[in-house]
Symmetry: C2
Subunit: 153 residues, 2 copies
DNA sequence: AATGCAATTGCAAATCGTTTGCAAGAAGGA
DNA sequence: TCCTTCTTGCAAACGATTTGCAATTGCATT
């Protein structure tokens, strides 16, 4: 199977402008078959704002179509990740958690008590990272910045 | 078993000033028994400059004392981590890799071709992180910053 | 140096998250 | 509709790590 990054076929997509039919058309164009399980998983990813792990996605999927299997969830996540449609995050030990690749890049602040994930973005930090990498003779392909913190009362 | 962070009992330790006897004394003071396997693992951690994973530490340990088991390596890593004597890093999927907690905090730049890990530190980035967290109503307990890059030719 | 007991060990089996082989079942272009 | 290829569910395999257990060992105490 040959993978092409198709996410740019569906550009400027945000949580608000997200439309399933367009999305599926783009996938089909990239040679990906729209199956029942995939449609279910896609709809879950499109509707959530949190960062569920495979098991959680599986649970939600089963609630819609009980015949879906966990391996299909894993396979679909890997497929979508390869297409650039979702991002995988491995926070501190735990299982991978996924989020739809919507809008621009951001980093994460993890609430150590609740496990909540807060997204943020700092252009200044990004620039500093590039500077540092350049000084060391590298160009950054991607990065990971996670802040683990406690809510200030 | 009651754990106390003892690493500050052995302050200002650098790779150059590191002395096993002092180290072991500090551990004993914290109620940790210095066993043969632990002495071996400690010496490996003290001598290396890279970021070996448990299996690699196990291999090196076996070369010194063939009776050491992998589970003891894991148990010791967890113990030392709890004491603050080592840091655990989980880079992109792979197994945890460890490094002695020596000197001050630093982040990592991972060479995507070779897997090499380059350490760096930027006070500016640290400050920005604190600002961001504060704005979001959080105080940072710790963070993880990894740059994945390619060498510029 | 010998004693006693809790801490530590090695081993094998268990666990967790994830991947894979396989035969059966569906997608979608002709 | 037919045919080929992709996808699926299932169960078994997987890699990293943890655990239960009985045997061993460190070390504070005699």
């Amino acid at each position: 199977m040959q993978l092409t990054v198709i996410w740019n076929i569906v550009p400027r997509m945000t949580r608000e402008t997200y439309k399933k039919p367009d999305y599926e058309k783009a996938l089909r164009k990239a040679g990906i078959r729209i199956t029942r399980p995939r449609r279910v998983i896609l709809s879950i990813l499109g509707e959530t704002d949190d960062h569920p792990d495979a098991l959680e996605i599986f649970r939600r999927a089963v609630a819609i179509d009980s015949s879906i299997s966990l391996s299909t969830v894993y396979r679909t996540m890997k497929l979508l990740e390869g297409l650039g449609a979702i991002h995988r995050h491995a926070f501190e030990g735990g299982p991978s958690r996924f989020e739809q690749a919507v809008g621009e890049h951001h980093d994460h602040l993890i609430d150590m008590e609740s496990g909540d994930v807060i997204e943020f973005h700092s252009e200044k930090i990004e620039q500093l990272q590039n500077e540092i990498a350049r000084e060391l003779g590298y160009e950054i392909v991607h990065h990971r910045l996670e802040l683990y913190g406690r809510r200030i009362k």
